[in-house]
Symmetry: C2
Subunit: 312 residues, 2 copies
């Protein structure tokens, strides 16, 4: 066998979680999965590029962790239960030690998220590109869509916003820094349990990748509603008034869930927060009006200093 | 809205085939598909990199055609009916005309293959990378696996082998050449009808991407059989004896189907060839023995001058 196939086989065929739904995994022309009866297939593709989405010199296991976690976060935002992923890996080199380190991070993350590796393609290129297609199941019908927020809904966010954005300047200087605030950058936590619980509680949900303020616009536009955010209520990594406060709102890479729910669900959501030991903060409301996001401080609109991340 | 989202929305949300199974397509955190009852989900991820899998300066519509066709070919090899694809596109520039040309090729190919676009991710990078996850359905149970060839099986190939390999040197000089032999390179035909018909006729199948001789080894290894190929029977783009004959066998990029079937199916396969108006050539047999591929000429083993394409 050629070195290409051996390399791939060793790193991407063993040690990943088992999926009972998977009949054929890595190694044939295609994988084959048996969808559980009465369930819908939820899928997302997420691409990360060296020196765009992570430092090229970051440890390979951290690159793998971040790439897979960010992709799985999209399943969380739909309330899906992860099933499997396919990996597209473009490599600028053929370094077995790097690949083994990458695979070790990928395996650890796959076990954390309960997701099997069923296929992929490893190719040569000038720069490192990691493209992950993740999938999972939801029962019955589509829920938590960006388009299903309603006027009158509260808007909520999980966890704390801005840690990754605050860590990023240091990570760019020291790409192997992975504790403290850098944990949020390399090990974002897909809010899978939260998303699944929200299927019965929330109207709309999404994960925050490009910044709270920019991403809230997606819900506003898709649902044709106006969103008012109360700056004082947003759980940020630094306190209101700190010079980096706005960076927390616009920086991105949070992978917390932003969701809307009827005010009648407040008690249930507060109870869920306690059950999951995860802060869930009510940060504003959806109202009728032109699709827009307004940030309020002391009840008055403020103009954000910067938007979220844009690729081009 | 930012330019990033507008750009993507315009090019990747309209004009693609409709999929009745798709409940939520491009635009939310994830797509949602309703699997048809009693069917299995068949999936493959295929990545193509500029100047590795195609010339970086090739017309964008040809790059799109080739990338999607090569991916769909994996579905053909499993006998699957295409349903949808997700597109990971990494771009070294932000040129609307290039992106529109790419999307025009992608749309045309999607209609040819009957496959809907349901999701994806467009990112910036230093070089062009196209990563496509395709999926489709098969009924009942996995078939046509690489591991299910049997000793005594005939081995067959569809179409003509080697056209892409012969065209490649000229394409590298003139990346916009897309007729004649170059058609096979930019517009490989996923043998979908053939693959679906083979579900009831063949034991094993795969598509030829890395070269007939190298790819035949995958079936030999997976099925633990020896494969003997009769050089005189292989339908090549140049005749046996031509200096480029061996290039046809080892060059790759054919995307024809290589399959094995019981000799009792010969008449049915010949009838299928007529029905599909597609040459199906019996080129050898599977026998008991150490997994290996032997090329015979005049009944005697010959040593191929070169193996198939290796990435590293």
């Amino acid at each position: 066998m050629s070195s290409e196939f051996e390399l791939i086989r060793q790193c991407f065929s063993q040690g990943y979680p088992h999926s009972a739904d998977t009949l054929v995994a890595v190694g044939d022309d295609a994988s084959i999965v048996l969808p559980p009866a009465g369930h819908l297939l939820v899928q997302s593709l997420d691409t990360q590029v060296a020196d765009v989405h992570f430092p090229a010199t970051a440890p390979a296991n951290l690159i793998a962790q971040r790439a897979l976690r960010c992709a799985v976060s999209d399943l969380a935002a739909m309330g899906a239960t992860p099933q499997a992923f396919l990996l597209g890996l473009t490599l600028p080199h053929n370094q077995p030690a790097w690949l083994e380190d990458f695979a070790s991070g990928l395996r650890a993350c796959a076990h954390d998220c309960g997701i099997a590796l069923i296929g992929g393609d490893t190719t040569k290129g000038r720069e490192l590109v990691v493209s992950v297609t993740v999938q999972g199941w939801v029962a019955d019908q589509p829920r938590l869509l960006r388009a299903s927020a309603k006027p009158g809904d509260d808007i909520w966010v999980s966890g704390v916003i801005g840690e990754s954005a605050l860590a990023l300047p240091q990570i760019l200087k020291r790409p192997d820094w992975s504790d403290g605030l850098a944990q949020s950058y390399y090990f974002p936590k897909p809010r899978l349990e939260l998303g699944q619980a929200l299927l019965d509680l929330a109207n709309s949900a999404m994960d925050i990748s490009d910044g709270l303020l920019q991403d809230a616009r997606h819900i506003a536009n898709a649902s044709a509603i106006a969103i008012q955010l109360e700056g004082e209520s947003i759980p940020t990594a630094v306190a209101l008034g700190h010079p980096s406060w706005m960076t927390c709102l616009s920086g991105g890479d949070d992978y917390e869930l932003l969701f809307t729910a009827s005010p009648s669900q407040r008690a249930a959501i507060t109870a869920l927060s306690a059950k999951l030991d995860l802060p869930l903060s009510r940060i504003g409301q959806c109202i009728e009006g032109e699709p827009d996001v307004t940030l309020l401080l002391d009840g008055k609109p403020v103009t954000p200093a910067a938007g979220g991340y844009q690729h081009f």
